[in-house]
Subunit: 115 residues, 6 copies
């Protein structure tokens, strides 16, 4: 059984986003808005976009980004089989240096699926 | 009007794959097989997997990889609107350094769509 | 003597930006606007911001990005001595894989300085 | 209120630099010297060079490097407004994968500014 | 004196590999097999291959990968002098952003050498 | 049959190194010296160091760096079998985005071996 990382992750993320945005820099604020809008359902459904975000985060090896997209993937109903196939694309594209990130992603996916 | 890059790209790719594989290294041969299998239809359809490959290639900034997945995306029926939404995810995740690759990708996508 | 790369670079850049933007994706258009605004004079002068863009482009090894920021650096009056000091930071941070990009950057800087 | 990370960071850094250098490899020792010299005031003031180091570290996503340059930026008098503008360049160039590093950088900057 | 990280690292690695592989995705399983086979003695001895893996992991800045190859390097008899020369290649190729990873690698190497 | 790329590559490299170094920046000059010294025979033979440089260049996807180390590898007597095993490590560590660089590397290796 793993720690309830999801609530902790989301609280810390919200708290630090405030620290970033509280100084009121317009460009950073707009970038955050574009980031959120990029994953909204359109010609491609939100589920596919979250899988795109997950694979991009895995090959770029950003654990915090992976955690965020895992939470969203689960909300969009991504199954373990779909996660594995997306993760396999990331593994083949990005190589064995993706494996440490794949390890924690698999654990977090299972944790989210069990809750 | 752009040059007929697709045939040239595929010929060069096939010719150089032969140079890589002709020495018979088993590990490299197996990696090439895993690479091809990763994009086959399964729990996720081939079209989604090609979009995953496209976005991964864009954020990793590999023009040859982008060209390959663009050809496959068109074969799977990806529209310009879907391409734009996937490219936008890559742009937001990977930043402005993705733009030069996005430029040639957009041109190549239009070229494939027109043929 | 090098070819007059600047005009060619700017024409190609403008032509391909049109190919990217002509389909009217709002997210991509807004990203392009944020990209341009990030380098405008503010608390930090435009010259410093262009040097930031140059160093970021060198360590990320994006030749097209380097070319763009070199043109802007020259417009902002960056000298060879200042270029060398910024390039040295990029070289130390990013390592010898930056060198091929530093080579063409130095040639392009001299070309711009001579014109 | 965050933990007094600065002293801890600097102690750990000094302790581990000793572990790296105690075996007396000349190349590594010289690299460390070049690294330090790259940020000394010259044609560009130290403040600008530290901002270059900060942006390079953010786009390369190296938290320890970011922490080091944040400490030096504050010593050179960088304001929150200047930090935001430099961070925005890093965010636009490097994309949303920079955000987790921007989050901790903003927190650390505020921590240094408050002390 | 550092904590006995080796046992902890290997246990965690084995536990999470199980989480990755337990769903039975064939592509991921085969990738893991290729990864292991790549470092077996052949035309190049295992020791040289582990040094290749170490340097690749350092320039790609993957601490977990570095730890794995450090353990294997020690098993193959790599000395501190050989470690330093390989690390120096990684430092020159990858630049100062490699230094935080070099710091923990040197500490872990010494820890393994002392046990 | 491929063009005699080696002479052209070496001439261009020497010409542009002069453009980089002619302004006399001491830090850059010293970095170039460290770069050369890193591959000299020591506790590890030059051949192994060139293989380290080759694999680091492949996973970092720097074609010019790969070409340089291929020339040096051949001078140190690296065989196709040894090249394949080193390239396989790079492929597994770095993933399929290494393949375009592996393709041209294999062609260049064969070209050097035939001359």
């Amino acid at each position: 059984m793993t720690e309830p990382w999801k609530a902790k992750f989301e609280d810390e993320r919200a708290r630090l986003n405030d620290v970033v945005l509280e100084s009121g820099h317009l460009g950073i604020k707009r970038f955050f808005a574009l980031d959120e809008q990029a994953y909204r359902s359109g010609a491609l459904p939100a589920k596919v976009k979250e899988l795109l975000g997950l694979v991009a985060s895995l090959v770029m090896r950003c654990d915090a980004c992976v955690s965020y997209h895992l939470i969203r993937c689960r909300e969009e109903g991504v199954t373990r089989e779909e996660f594995d196939e997306a993760a396999n694309v990331a593994l083949v594209v990005g190589g064995s240096i993706v494996i440490p990130h794949l390890r924690s992603a698999a654990e977090r996916f299972e944790d989210l699926a069990a809750s």
